[in-house]
Structures are given as structure tokens and as C-alpha cells.
């Protein structure tokens, strides 16, 4: 899709992003951010969804597609500064002969801090935080955590980590 200029860029996030950095965990789908051209965002996103339909049926109304035995959720990052930043700073990875992009560890932490599911996100934040680049994480928080909520949440997780070790 990128080669055909249907999307500008894309990156994996969510559980599969976590799996890239850490261990295999249970997940329902592969989450992907796609960056469409800003000029006609809605139209471009529709075009992306139509393209995905060629690979498998759409499941429900949350832009989720079943490709083989895998569910893929396609989310537009365009117009959402944090998500745009996550795609722009994603790291390159290789799967067989294909190059893929995965959201950085620090962005994954921030995205998990937003949802902050006690069962899913909190343990993952704890794991990712251990080897995260603290300066890069502070930078993402400084730019996107306007009211300090995410910083407070992160402090809670690190406090729990301290108790565990």
C-alpha cells in the first residue's frame, strides 16, 4: 500500500508491538496505525479499508479484517499528534524478507498508559519500562501528557515495580 502511495506510512502497535520487544502474549488481533495523506484524510482512509477488504472480510464495524486466521485492526493515525509521532518514530524490523515497522518501546508505554487496563497494560508497561530509554520516554510524555495523568500513572507502575524487585 505504501509502494502504491495509498498510505504514507504504517506501524504495528498494541500486543504485537509488545511481542516484538518482549515475550509472546495472548492477543485477539494485530493493531496497525496507518498514516494517510492529510489533505483528504477520510477519503484516503476509506481507500485503505477498501484495499484491506481485498485480503479478507471486514469483521464488525471497527475496521477489523480477517486475513487468513489473523484479525487485523487498521487505525488511522493522521490527525492525532501522538499516533502520528508513534508512526514517525517507529523502528524497522524484519519478518522473513519483508520489512515492517513497530512503534517504539517508549510510545508503546505511553499508549498503554492511556488505556491503563490493570490486567493487560500495567504488567506490560512494567516490563517495557525496565529497558526503555528514559530520556525518550520523558520526551514523549512532556509533549503529549498535557495534564500529567500519564506521568502519575507511570509513577504508580514504577512504584509497584520497586515493591516487586
Amino acid at each position: 500500500l505504501k509502494r502504491r502511495r495509498i498510505i504514507n506510512d504504517w506501524a504495528i502497535y498494541g500486543s504485537v508491538g509488545y511481542i516484538y520487544y518482549e515475550e509472546v502474549v495472548q492477543t485477539r488481533d494485530i493493531d496497525i496505525f496507518v498514516e494517510v495523506r492529510a489533505a483528504s484524510e477520510r477519503e484516503d482512509y476509506g481507500k485503505v479499508l477498501r484495499e484491506f477488504k481485498r485480503y479478507g472480510p471486514m469483521v464488525g464495524d471497527a475496521a477489523m479484517f480477517q486475513v487468513g486466521s489473523i484479525l487485523i485492526q487498521v487505525f488511522p493515525s493522521t490527525g492525532y499528534p501522538l499516533w502520528e509521532d508513534a508512526v514517525a518514530n517507529a523502528v524497522k524490523a524484519r519478518v522473513e524478507c519483508e520489512q515492517v515497522k513497530v512503534v517504539s518501546k517508549e510510545h508503546l508505554i505511553v499508549l498503554a498508559l492511556i488505556r491503563f487496563d490493570p490486567a493487560k497494560d500495567v504488567p506490560r508497561i512494567g516490563q517495557l519500562y525496565k529497558s526503555a530509554d528514559r530520556a525518550a520516554l520523558d520526551d514523549v510524555l512532556r509533549r503529549f501528557d498535557k495534564d500529567g495523568t500519564l506521568t502519575v500513572r507511570l509513577a504508580r507502575v514504577t512504584e509497584w515495580l520497586g515493591r516487586d524487585s
Binding site: Y20, E23, V24, T27, R28, G60, V95
Partner: protein, 63 residues
């Protein structure tokens, strides 16, 4: 209590060692494990705890 504390500590260390190994595993290998897991999950009953995989295979919205 000391014996329990020792078991907990040993378990923690074993888990950490396993995680360290997992971190080093190639992404494609991890994806293969995930794919097998997903395929196996889909064949379970809808109420098996993963949100209605049968419904997904039939093209309905997962719960």
C-alpha cells in the same frame, strides 16, 4: 517462611531468565508462535474466553 521466600525468589529469577530469552528470540519466530496460538484459539467455542472466535470466522462481530 524462609523456604517460601526462597521458592518465590527462585521463581522470579527463572521467569526473568525466560523473559530475557524471549526478548532475544527473532520477531518472525515469535509471530509464528502467535499465529499458531491465534489459529488454535479460533477453533475454540465462542465462550472460551477469547471473545467469540467462531463468530469471527463466520464474519460476525466478536463480542
Amino acid at each position: 517462611l524462609d523456604a517460601i521466600a526462597e521458592i518465590i525468589e527462585r521463581t522470579r529469577k527463572a521467569k526473568e531468565a525466560w523473559r530475557e530469552q524471549e526478548r532475544k528470540r527473532p520477531f518472525e519466530e515469535k509471530l509464528r508462535v502467535l499465529q499458531e496460538f491465534m489459529a488454535a484459539s479460533y477453533s475454540k467455542k465462542p465462550d472460551a474466553g477469547l471473545g467469540g472466535k467462531k463468530a469471527v470466522l463466520k464474519g460476525r462481530a466478536p463480542r
